[in-house]
Symmetry: C2
Subunit: 462 residues, 2 copies
C-alpha cells in the first residue's frame, strides 16, 4: 500500500527543487524510480527503495514509475494498479491522486514515456531491470556518469543534481533530523541491551528493533561487532566477552528516504579498561576537534588531516608511534591505525550521491589521492551551509595492515610494536556523528547521544 | 565474512542430495548462487540471499559462485576474494577451504565455468544480473521452466530437483525445526509487546527483534496489521485501538536458508469480543480439522475443501451464510470470506519452489482451477512423508470482494448482510502453522505456539 505524504508541505518543496534544476539545465530529464528486487524467488521481494534522485524530485517511493522534469514542470508516468491489486494490497491511491499529492503538472500511463524521450537526459537506476528499460526506452546506452565526457547531457544532469542535493533544503533537513533522532534512540537501545546480551546479534536486534518500532528502516546494513577492526563486518555471530568493546555503526532512514549514520563504541562490561579508555579518549579528541573545525569555507580534506594529526600525536603520547606528528602524517603512519576517511556526505543515501562516483564527493578538478592515508577519503570539497557530513575518526588494529611485511618494514622504526602489544584489548574504535554545516559554523544532528567515555559507561550500566 | 557451516554434517548430506539428483538426470547441471542486489546505490546492498537451488546442493550462501553437478560430482566455481577484501571484510575462507567444507570434488576460478557449459542444464537465477550472465555463459536464453516443453533439459532438471526438494531429508528437517522454534519465539514476543504497543510498527519490531536476536532473518516481509483484510499488507503505520485484532504473519529463516511461516491473530486488548471470538473459534476449528486430516496419501486439495466446508458450515451456524454448507462451497460462497488457498509447500522458500511456477505445487497433469474458491490454491498433490506444508485457513471482510456488485448480486441470497454487519470488529483472522507429513500422520513444527482463544488471550495479557 502506497502511503501518500502530507500534501501541504511536500508539493511546494518539490516545486522549488525542480525550478532550481530548471535554472541549471535547459533540456528535459527523465528519472526512473526503479523496480523491486527479488530475494529468493520472483514474488518474494526485498522491501522496495526508490532511486534517491527520483525521491528527491517526486517525494514518494512509488515503484515502476518515472518522472519527466522539464523547465520546472513535473510529469508523472505510472500505471494504475490493476483491480486485483485491491484484494491483496488494499485500496491504493490512483495515479491522479498521487499526481495531486506531489504537485505534478500532468500524469500519464508509463507507456506514454516512449514518446517523450527524445533528447532527454537520465541517470542510471540501481536495479538492472530498470537499467535495461532505460536503455530500451531511450534507444541508447545509459552508463555511469563518471565514464561520460563533460558535454554529455547525462553528465550535465548529474552535475546539476549534485549541486542541488549537496545543499539540503529545509524540508530535507527536517527529515534528516528525524532520521538522526531515531538513530540516537537505536544507539541508546543497543547500549541498554548490552548488560543482558550474550551475542552481537542481541545488541543488533535491540538497535534495529528501535528503528522498526518507529516504522523507519535501516539506511544500510548495520555493523554491530566486537571485532571492530573488520571495517565492513556484517556478521553478528560472535559472543560478547566482558573485556570486549562493541562497535555499532547503525543508522535509520525515514519512510521518506532520508538517512542518518552514527557509530558508537562501548565496553561490554560498562567499564573501559585503562588501555581502551586511552584510545577511546584519543578518538574522541579527534572527533571533537574535527567537529569544532567544521564551518563554511573549511576544506573537508583539512578536517581529515586534522583527525590524522591528532591521532598521530596521541599515539606518540601513548608511546605507540615515535616521531613528530606532522612527519608521521606525511608518511601516512596514522593510516596504520586510521585507514579510512574521516567521513562523507549524508542525505538520501548514506554515502550521499555515491551512485555518481566521486562527482559529488570531489570538487571539480580534484581526484582521489593515491596516498594510503588519503585515498579512502570520500569527500574533498570546501564545506558550504546546508551540507551534511559525517565525522568519524577511528582507531583499529587491522591484522591485514599491521602484519603486512611491506608496511612492517616501511613503518618498523616509527611503531613501538612492543608498546602496541599492551593495547591488545582494543580491536576497533570509531565515533561517528552527523554534522550539518550552518551559516556560522555547524550543528551536530546526533548530539543527543553522548560521546564522553564516562557518559557512555553510564548508559551501558543503566 | 562468509561463515562456513559445520563440516561434519553438511558434506554427507550434500553428497546424498547430488547422488539422488544423479539418479534422476544423466546430464550436467550448473546452478548459480546469484549476485547481491543494490538498494539505493551500487555499494549499498540488500543482505545477500543465495538461490535456493544453489543452497540445496552447495549448503552455503556464497555470492557470485556456481556449482556444476554431474553424475554425483560437485565442482565449485568461484573467485578468491581480492587481498584488499581482508581490510574491509576480515579473513575469508579460501576457495579450497570452502570446497572442503561442502565436500566439493574440485574447485576452479569462475571463468573456468565457460569451458564446462556445453549441454548443461540450468535454472534461472532470481537476480537479473545473474540471468544475463547465465544467458551469456550458456550462449542461449534461459527462461522460466513453466514456459519450456517437457523435453527441454532445464525443465527435466527442474522436475528432478522438485522431486528431491519436495521431500525434506533429516538435515533439512533439523533446520526447519530451528526456523519454526525461532518463529514461535517471535510470535510470543509480539503478543507480549502488545500491551505496551501503540502502533503496528512496535509489535512488528518486537517480533523481528526476536528473530534478529537469534541471528536469523525474516523469510519474507512480515505482515503485522490491524487491517488483516488486506491480505498482503506490508505497511505498519496504523495505531492500535483496543477493539482491534492484530494479524501477524511472520516467519524466520535460518542462516542456512530454511524458512518458517506462521500466522496468529490476537486481540489488542487481550480479550476477544464475542463476535471476534465466534469467528476466531471457527477459523481455529478449520485449522485443527485440516491438520488432523493431514497424512500420507491425503490430497491437499481435500484439506483445502475441508477448510472451506467447515468455514461455510460455521458461517451458516452464525447466521452469516444461508443454505447447505456443501452447496455453499460448490458455489464458492466460502471464498467471499476465505478467498485464498489453505496453504502451500514450505522449505528453503516460504512458498517453496515457486520460482518454478506450479511445477512443484501441482502434480503432473493438474492445473489451477478457474473457480474463485480454488484458483488461489498453491498446492494440489497427494501428501507424502517428508513434505512440509502450511495450514492457514482464515476469515476476512475484504471490501473489494464484499462490495463487488457482481458478487453481491450472485451471492445476495446466501449472505445475510444484516447479520454480517454485526461482525464489523472482525476485519481479518488467520491461523497458520507448519505441518510436516510423517510416516503415520503429521507433526506440527510450530505447536509450541498455542491456538486456543483463551491461551492466546493469556499470553497477550501476561
Ligand atoms: Mn559513515
Ligand atoms: Mn503462508
Amino acid at each position: 500500500m502506497q502511503i501518500l505524504p502530507s500534501l501541504s508541505t511536500l508539493a511546494p518543496t518539490l516545486r522549488q527543487r525542480r525550478e532550481k534544476l530548471a535554472q541549471r539545465v535547459d533540456f528535459p530529464a527523465i528519472l526512473w524510480s526503479g523496480q523491486p528486487s527479488p530475494r529468493n524467488f520472483p514474488k518474494n521481494l526485498y522491501p522496495f527503495r526508490a532511486s534517491s534522485h527520483f525521491i528527491y524530485f517526486a517525494g514518494i517511493q512509488l515503484p515502476d514509475a518515472a518522472i519527466a522534469l522539464d523547465r520546472g514542470q513535473l510529469h508523472l508516468f505510472a500505471d494504475e494498479a490493476p483491480p486485483s491489486n485491491t484484494l491483496w494490497h488494499g485500496e491504493t491511491p490512483s495515479r491522479s491522486e498521487i499526481a495531486a499529492a506531489i504537485g505534478a503538472d500532468a500524469h500519464y500511463p508509463k507507456t506514454e514515456l516512449r514518446s517523450r524521450l527524445a533528447e532527454a537526459a537520465t541517470l542510471p537506476a540501481s536495479d538492472r531491470l530498470t537499467q535495461l528499460e532505460q536503455a530500451d526506452f531511450l534507444g541508447r546506452s545509459v552508463v555511469p556518469v563518471a565514464d561520460l565526457p563533460p558535454e554529455h547531457r547525462d553528465r550535465q544532469l548529474a552535475e546539476a543534481i549534485v549541486s542541488l542535493r549537496l545543499i539540503h533544503d529545509l524540508s530535507a533537513i527536517a527529515d534528516l533530523r528525524q532520521a538522526a533522532a531515531c538513530t540516537v534512540e537505536a544507539h541508546y537501545a543497543g547500549m541498554h541491551a548490552t548488560a543482558h546480551a550474550t551475542t552481537e546479534a542481541k545488541v543488533r536486534a535491540a538497535m534495529e528493533g528501535a528503528i522498526l518500532a518507529r516504522n523507519f528502516t535501516c539506511a544500510y546494513n548495520s555493523i554491530v561487532t566486537v571485532r571492530g577492526e573488520i571495517l565492513h563486518n556484517e556478521s553478528y555471530a560472535n559472543p560478547l566477552n566482558s573485556d570486549d568493546l562493541i562497535l555499532a555503526d547503525v543508522g535509520a532512514e525515514t519512510p521518506t528516504g532520508w538517512a542518518a549514520d552514527v557509530t558508537r563504541t562501548w565496553p561490554v562490561s560498562g567499564r573501559f579498561s585503562a588501555t581502551q579508555r586511552d584510545l577511546y579518549e584519543l578518538v574522541r579528541l579527534a572527533h571533537d576537534a574535527c567537529i569544532a573545525k567544521i564551518a563554511p569555507g573549511v576544506e573537508y580534506r583539512e578536517v581529515h588531516l586534522l583527525a590524522a594529526e591528532i591521532i598521530a600525536e596521541g599515539l606518540v603520547n601513548l608511546g605507540i608511534l615515535r616521531g613528530k606528528p606532522e612527519d608521521l602524517v606525511a608518511m601516512d603512519a596514522h593510516a596504520l591505525f586510521f585507514p579510512h576517511g574521516v567521513g562523507h556526505l549524508l542525505g538520501l543515501d548514506v554515502h550521499d550521491l555515491e551512485d555518481l562516483g566521486d562527482l559529488a564527493g570531489y570538487a571539480t578538478g580534484r581526484v582521489r589521492s593515491d596516498r594510503f592515508g588519503l585515498g579512502y577519503l570520500r569527500l574533498d570539497r570546501p564545506l558550504q551551509p546546508g551540507m551534511l557530513v559525517t565525522v568519524e575518526p577511528g582507531f583499529y588494529q587491522v591484522p591485514a595492515i599491521l602484519n603486512d611485511p611491506e608496511r612492517r618494514s616501511r613503518y618498523g622504526e616509527v611503531v613501538n610494536w612492543d608498546r602496541l602489544s599492551r593495547f591488545q584489548d582494543v580491536r576497533g574504535i570509531r565515533i561517528e556523528d552527523d554534522v550539518l554545516i550552518t551559516e556560522n559554523g555547524s550543528e551536530i544532528l546526533t548530539d543527543a547521544l553522548p560521546v564522553e567515555a564516562a557518559a557512555i559507561e553510564q548508559i551501558v550500566r543503566q
